[in-house]
């Protein structure tokens, strides 16, 4: 029962991927991905309910583990994947219309997206640091060809940088894991339990301090690279701006958060082994550096997809800041932020992909008067940006408020003040850029492609995502209970 529940979120997308491999991308199969995403969402909810009510599910002799945090992350993956997969048919049709794709590339796209989902789900339900590492590294190799999907010079360049920087970053994390494993074996843990999150947290006080310190620093640095945290962040704007819109949505919306969750789980071990100061300091440095890079590069940004990518970095920095505070309130806020950012960013990237297909350019100054020309994508894009800027009633308003309050309460006044100053800077830059895109007269004066009704239909998944974010932000239900259960797992 447990095994089935824990394996299902991995098996469902894997099976969908295999089906795509044999059937290809066609009218009848194009919503298969959406179904598989809905499956992940459903199993995520089931797992979360079970974990909250009956306690953590463990399976496969301790290699898989379904705690509330895993359930929550599965729900986020499922929800974001649902939006991205539901938006994929319209996106691929648009690419086909612009003669950018053929049947083979569409098949590859569909297969790789499902493999990507399976790897992420495995990373979330994995209970063993080594297994989680393997799954996260697998996401890198699987998404490499998705980033390079278009095969243009820019896409090849982005894919190369993405694979090299992420693989190196994640290799450093592997070094950290190996060191931690050695320390755990030395502390008397058995071969299979020496990498299990739970066993490590239980025996953390017995770990050698210096070795653990080195291991934790490497793990934070390495998984930080995949989570878009400075200093190994430079792949992120390239990859997220070159990948197809649904893939950008997945990478930005959930992959970053999944890697981040590994840092959260490691923090739990390190806080016992080393005291809370060490990881807190590391995270504060990484958070402020990431926020500074993102804010400064957002100011002069000329490309709206890159703008969204840097916005992801900004949000990851904010989450790291919250995690550094480490109180239950802060961690609940961080998890809420993960959910809100995932859905909001997915909508923003998918809308941006639509705008790119309509205007043929990703330059901000080449897109003017979008609100007049194609109101539907412009509307979703604008709303998604409002979500990302943290306006009420959307969830990010509540989570940012929570992070700020928890940070001040935890005695991190100065870093929080500095961080939010940078967030404000990013806010101003994004608002100004988006305003320039949407408002003003249409320089092309051309009629929008297709009817407003068709455009609305194509944007339905995005609108649904935005409504969901608003709903979570206002009501808190049904996540509040789950967040309260998951937050302690991510912190002390």
């Amino acid at each position: 029962m447990n095994t089935a529940l824990l394996l299902a979120p991995v098996v469902v997308p894997a099976a969908a991927g295999v089906l795509y491999l044999f059937l290809g991308w066609r009218r009848t199969t194009r919503h298969l991905g959406t179904v598989s995403a809905a499956g992940i969402l459903a199993f995520g909810i089931a797992l979360a309910v079970r974990a909250v009510h009956d306690g953590t599910a463990v399976a496969a002799s301790g290699w898989l583990r379904g705690d509330p945090l895993a359930g929550f992350l599965l729900i986020v993956i499922g929800a974001v994947a649902f939006v991205a997969c539901a938006a994929s048919p319209a996106y691929l049709a648009g690419e086909r219309a612009a003669e950018h794709g053929d049947a083979a590339s569409e098949r590859r796209f569909a297969v790789l997206v499902q493999a990507f989902l399976a790897a992420m789900c495995l990373a979330v339900v994995g209970a063993n640091l080594g297994l989680v590492w393997v799954a996260i590294e697998a996401t890198t190799t699987v998404t490499a060809f998705l980033v390079g999907h278009r095969r243009s010079r820019a896409a090849v360049e982005a894919a190369w940088k993405y694979v090299v920087i992420c693989s190196v970053g994640i290799a450093l994390a592997l070094l950290g894991i190996v060191v931690l494993y050695a320390a755990a074996r030395h502390a008397g843990l058995s071969e299979t339990s020496a990498l299990s999150f739970q066993e490590l947290a239980g025996h953390a006080h017995a770990l050698d301090q210096q070795a653990t310190r080195m291991a934790v620093a490497l793990i934070v640095l390495g998984f930080g690279a995949k989570a878009g945290l400075a200093p190994l962040h430079s792949w992120l704007p390239d990859a997220h701006s070159q990948a197809p819109a649904p893939v950008s949505a997945l990478m930005s919306g959930v992959l970053l958060s999944v890697s981040f969750s590994v840092i959260l789980r490691t923090k739990q071990i390190a806080d016992v082994a080393l005291g809370t100061g060490f990881v807190k300091t590391l995270m504060l440095i990484a958070a402020l550096a990431t926020l500074a890079v993102a804010a400064l590069l957002l100011i002069g940004q000329r490309d709206y997809k890159r703008m969204l990518a840097y916005s992801s970095m900004e949000h990851m920095g904010l989450m790291t800041l919250g995690a550094a505070a480490g109180t239950p309130l802060a961690l609940s806020a961080v998890l809420l932020h993960i959910a809100g950012h995932g859905l909001g960013k997915a909508a923003a990237f998918c809308a941006a992909g639509r705008i790119l297909q309509e205007t043929g350019t990703s330059r901000i100054d080449a897109v003017r008067g979008l609100a007049a020309r194609s109101p539907v994508p412009a509307g979703t894009f604008a709303t998604a940006v409002l979500v990302l800027l943290g306006f009420p009633p959307f969830a990010l308003f509540a989570s940012e408020l929570g992070i700020a309050r928890a940070g001040f309460a935890a005695g991190l006044g100065w870093p929080i003040a500095a961080g939010f100053t940078l967030v404000l800077l990013a806010f101003a830059a994004i608002a100004a850029h988006t305003g320039r895109m949407l408002l003003g007269a249409d320089p092309l004066q051309s009629a929008p492609a297709g009817s407003a009704g068709a455009a609305l239909r194509a944007q339905t998944p995005l609108i649904a995502a935005l409504v969901a974010v608003a709903f979570i932000g206002v009501a808190g239900w049904p996540l509040a209970h789950l967040l309260n259960a998951a937050a302690p797992l991510a912190g002390r």
């Binding site: 290699w63 063993n128 080594g130 297994l131 590492w133 393997v134 590294e137 697998a138 890198t140 190799t141 490499a144 060809f145 390079g148 095969r151 243009s152 010079r153 820019a154 090849v156 360049e157 982005a158 894919a159 190369w160 940088k161 694979v163 090299v164 693989s167 190196v168 290799a171 592997l174 070094l175 894991i177 190996v178 060191v179 494993y181 050695a182 320390a183 074996r185 030395h186 071969e191 299979t192 020496a194 990498l195 050698d208 210096q210 070795a211 310190r213 080195m214 704007p237 390239d238 701006s241 070159q242 590069l297 002069g300 940004q301 000329r302 890159r306």
Partner: protein, 219 residues
């Protein structure tokens, strides 16, 4: 030094491992670099086998065979085929010239020695004492990734890095659990395959595999 024949074999394999890492930084001919990577992979397999004999851990023999097959055979083979496809055989103008790279490598080895101290203290076995060898390979690999301009040199740097990590795993803890080891090896194989395909695409998009050409994307 003192100790049994296993220890001597281990010491020698570690020495060869380190020498191959340094040699890969020294040579400009990419085919020679790939050859040295194969030597390093073989040394890694010997390290695993020697540790297996030393700690009476027969499972390690199988791991050693697998590691040897992958890192001395398959991965260098893939790199060699990518080299043949790219038609570029020399790292003609590295960002840091070879003499300075070698001096940097000397500094990195000493750094590795300093960094490894907390780990080496955990255990008094000959393996733990040789830990700096793995860390040095990691650092040299990182240095190669930063200082070289050809796509294949970066692949080589990445493999040095990964060989180093595996060596650390063997020397510090006689290897990670088998399932993880298999997963890691599989991922590594995938990364090298992906990089090989990307090299071919880069060749057709840019007409070369010079990473200096990668400057379309910037802010």
């Amino acid at each position: 030094m003192n100790g049994s024949a296993d220890t001597q074999i281990l010491d020698f394999a570690c020495g060869l491992f380190l020498l191959a890492a340094v040699g890969a930084l020294w040579r400009r001919e990419l085919s020679a670099v790939i050859g040295l990577l194969a030597v390093q992979g073989a040394a890694l397999a010997v390290i695993a086998a020697a540790l297996g004999a030393d700690e009476h851990h027969p499972e390690l023999y199988a791991v050693a065979a697998g590691v040897g097959l992958l890192r001395a055979g398959v991965l260098p083979g893939l790199a060699r085929r990518a080299l043949a496809a790219s038609g570029e055989d020399r790292e003609s103008q590295p960002l840091v010239n070879v003499a300075s790279s070698l001096l940097a490598a000397a500094a990195l080895v000493l750094l590795a020695y300093a960094v490894a101290q907390p780990l080496a203290r955990l255990d008094a076995s000959p393996g733990a004492r040789a830990l700096p060898v793995g860390l040095a390979s990691v650092l040299i690999g990182l240095f190669m990734l930063v200082a070289r301009r050809k796509a294949l040199s970066q692949v080589a740097g990445f493999l040095l890095l990964d060989n180093g990590i595996t060596a650390v795993a063997f020397l510090a803890a006689a290897g990670v659990p088998l399932l993880v080891e298999i997963g890691v090896s599989f991922d590594l194989l995938l990364v090298v395959l992906v990089l090989r395909v990307l090299t071919v695409r880069m060749q057709s998009a840019f007409g070369a595999t010079d990473l200096d050409d990668l400057r379309e994307l910037h802010d």
